[in-house]
Symmetry: C2
Subunit: 524 residues, 2 copies
């Protein structure tokens, strides 16, 4: 990092924060502020350049920062109110951490003189932040805020992306003496593990070998390289179950996902005796179950970790391409465009998947938290117009609506489709208001199965056969039924309810062309 700082007029710490963030490429702030952050609000008010997006619950802000990073590769900041505000944003920070998203997570704290008094809102903020953060710092003075902010951005940009939590006592905001930290050097990805290269070349040979891709290996260009390697070596391609960002659709190399259900994953992975990892980890079960394995690869499979999530994944693929002499081989699994026949009649999983495949606009961003309903979406949308697909990587449901906000802020010229179960959507339902406030071009599909459907399956998976009525009731959301049309309208988002294929096709067409947020409740 450089030591240069901009000579400035007298400013307080809050002002130095905003200037330093801007100087280091942070241009968006997802916020739910409180009293201890009022000077930051004032600084955001009079310093141009930082777009501030208000959320009505902090999980919306942190999930939006996750989606924003995935689509820009640049961290946004949050602005959260003390320990409890941070706590409300914690589960989506967990998801962002697992996705490898960089976030500059700014948390206000009481004035340093006030902390020892143990006021009602006093808590161990650093302790709350630690489990979801790669980097935590409490800035001690107004003079240090600018430099600490720049170092938080550096920490957030450690590849593939990290959670950097900067805690700012309110006196560091209001005291004079702020110093702007100019742009500092940003970290570059670590080199891939070249020691594995020769072994990887040997390993990738025929259909019992697998090139397993994750994270930044799933860009359009990297997939093309992987497709060439697969065509040349005969290896298979797969991605992890959860991908922070996957480029898909017509004209791109298709890569399937390791399935979520244990038995299906075991079956899909059983053929592979040799597995090369690029940006992916060796597949394990999402959950443990009695009498099922957690390691999903075949026993004795050779696992070659050529490049971890933080490494230079493009470099790894390019090197592998050269070493296998695949550069001139046309890619395998290149997808030809194909539009499914228009289904009619009642909506079921297959017709739903077909309608979504038909509707995906060119260059759309699909944020997927459809859980059980969406198991058929991945294969069905394989040949749709080219698009970007975002999965929940941390498993804490309630990620999709906020991440859609972040994606839409990041890419105002692209359409966002948000696919979510009704149970999932409820965790961060306040997102709808921010979508309306910012007039974001997001079409939300809520799949109203009126239950925690996945848990009904999980009851069986963990060995609980024949659950009784009280257990079933605890997984049911139909007493009362949620009315998603009213829910959306209550927060200023236009909405409709569809129960058959024609209705959904029309609603998707209307929603995707209306230019603003809209919600379609899909009755299942």
């Amino acid at each position: 990092m450089t030591d240069s700082t901009t000579p400035t007029t007298r400013m307080n710490g809050a002002e130095s924060l905003v200037h330093s963030l801007l100087a280091n490429g942070v241009e968006v702030c997802f916020t739910n502020p409180g009293t201890s952050e009022m000077h930051f609000v004032a600084a955001l008010d009079h310093i141009p350049g930082m777009r501030s997006i208000l959320a009505l619950q902090e999980g919306v802000a942190t999930g939006a920062a996750d989606g924003y990073y995935r689509m820009t590769g640049k961290p946004a900041s949050t602005l959260l109110h003390l320990g409890p505000g941070l706590a409300n944003g914690l589960s989506n920070l967990h998801n962002a951490k697992k996705a490898g998203s960089g976030v500059v997570n700014i948390v206000g704290e009481h004035a340093s003189t006030h902390i020892a008094l143990d006021a009602p809102l006093t808590s161990d903020i650093a302790g709350i932040a630690a489990p979801v953060s790669h980097w935590v710092r409490i800035s001690p003075t107004a003079q240090t805020v600018g430099k600490d902010a720049a170092e938080a951005v550096q920490a957030a940009r450690v590849s593939p992306g990290q959670i950097a939590t900067l805690i700012l006592p309110s006196d560091t905001a209001w005291n004079e003496g702020g110093v702007v930290q100019d742009a500092v050097d940003m970290p570059v990805p670590a080199p891939f593990d070249a020691d594995y290269l020769d072994a990887a070349v040997t390993a990738l040979d025929g259909p019992d070998s697998l090139l397993l891709l994750g994270g930044g290996a799933l860009t359009e260009d990297n997939l093309e390289t992987a497709g060439r390697i697969a065509a040349k070596t005969g290896c298979k391609l797969l991605s992890e179950w959860s991908n922070a960002r996957l480029e898909r659709g017509a004209g791109r190399v298709f890569v399937g996902r390791v399935p979520y259900p244990i038995d299906m994953a075991l079956e899909v992975l059983a053929p592979f005796k040799r597995i090369v990892l690029i940006g992916a980890r060796a597949p394990i079960g999402f959950f443990a179950y009695p009498d099922k394995p957690a390691i999903l690869t075949r026993e004795g499979a050779e696992i070659l970790p050529l490049a971890g999530a933080g490494a230079d994944l493009t470099g790894a693929l390019d090197a592998l391409c050269v070493a296998t002499d695949s550069g001139q081989t046309p890619p395998a699994d290149l997808v030809a465009p194909s539009v499914p026949t228009r289904p009619s009649g009642p909506i079921n999983r297959d017709s739903l998947a077909a309608l979504i495949a038909r509707a995906i606009p060119e260059d759309a961003i699909v944020v997927d938290e459809s859980v059980t309903t969406g198991r058929a979406f991945s294969p069905a949308t394989k040949c749709a117009a080219k698009h970007t697909w975002l999965n929940n990587c941390g498993g804490s449901i309630g990620y999709a609506l906020p991440a859609a906000i972040g994606a839409a802020i990041a890419c105002p010229d692209r359409k966002v489709m948000c696919l979510t179960g009704d149970g999932s959507a409820m965790y961060t339902v306040q997102s709808l208001w921010t979508m309306a406030r910012e007039n974001l071009d997001i079409t939300v599909l809520v799949f109203a199965n009126q239950s925690y459907q996945i848990l009904r399956g999980e009851l069986t998976n963990v060995g609980v056969g024949n659950p009784g009525p009280r257990a079933v009731d605890m997984l049911s959301l139909d007493r009362p039924a949620l009315d998603w049309v009213q829910m959306a309208q209550s927060m200023g988002v236009q909405a409709s309810r569809v129960a058959d294929c024609d209705g959904l096709e029309n609603a998707l067409q209307d929603g995707l062309t209306c230019g603003g947020p809209n919600l379609i409740e899909v009755m299942l």
Copy 2:
């Protein structure tokens, strides 16, 4: 604690958990379960006696446990899904901790064999729990779950009430070998600090002395004792700003609250040269502000901590009553019933307070998170029918709707009024669904000022004069306006909107007699 355990038939850890909780007086579980908790769901299903209340977001569950404890003095359990589920419940656990509410907070964890694999949902659960918990334990085996559950109840019942977090790896739930822990001895409050008794007797002498009450000192009987002491000694009575539970209204001794605004608090506390604390802490500012003090008592005031929050507060008051020979003195500040004149015309703060005072039913529970709108409620409702008033004690807004659920579950024969700002209500808006599902007798008043009104004042307090349009916009909730009638109806709660006094009086009458949940959006 006793060592006796009930000889039982073969059972798994989950079943031993439910039996042991029941044996130790925990009869309600506020839950949002996931895969790792499916065996607990199954156990709740087939073991009678534990009432399970489903929440659609974990903050609802933890806030409900807070409200339940305040009204019963008995801890409820929660059942939360892994680290992220706990994280979503953290801010209301913070509030419960600050209120001195006991909660048995049960968090599922991956199977012990699965944790090292670092699955998507893996996190440092104990680390997330620590900042809001007095007691954290990970139960290692099915055999230990029952005993650990009983000890969690013991920990939760340490006076005035504590947060006990028990983390249960899923194999401890599904493995056989569960052992039921029968009822164990529960802790009793510590004695008050008798060393201060003589000094307290001397200190309480005339109107420059204050008896400051908090926590369990605010029961009807204890207030009567305090009223006698005040009448006899000439001291004044006050309570803290935030009270976990305050008994009020006609026929009871009135105790005012130390005001929230610093300047008002300084003025109210300025006369007191000697302050005796019973269940209260010496008053400090909720927040620090530039150029304002944080210690609110007059300089040099003598502070006598006769009894801390966890001590025997009734014993302290009784001893003080005896030592001051106040037992036969009629209490000071005994409230005579008085109904305010029915106001008419537009709703303003005064007419709103009068309408609420008129409406409070005998024995109602008022859960108050009205923030700015409610500043006039406390004096205005002084002479209402006798009722119980619950404040937010941790300052993390989003406590009121969940706490109202807990209060209504605790006291099915009492009416609950929930007073909340619109900004506050949004944090845990999912509460409305649980109210509908359980058909709870709760009347929710949402004060729709369409802004974070308190923060507009705080901008000025921290020295930010004349905020610009972007700052004002960041504190405004009117773009788009929230439609609380649609919001409530979307979750199955009947609702109406009122804009004048007649409308509100009628809506309150309808709501408080309808027997189920209802919401009134009060346009301000």
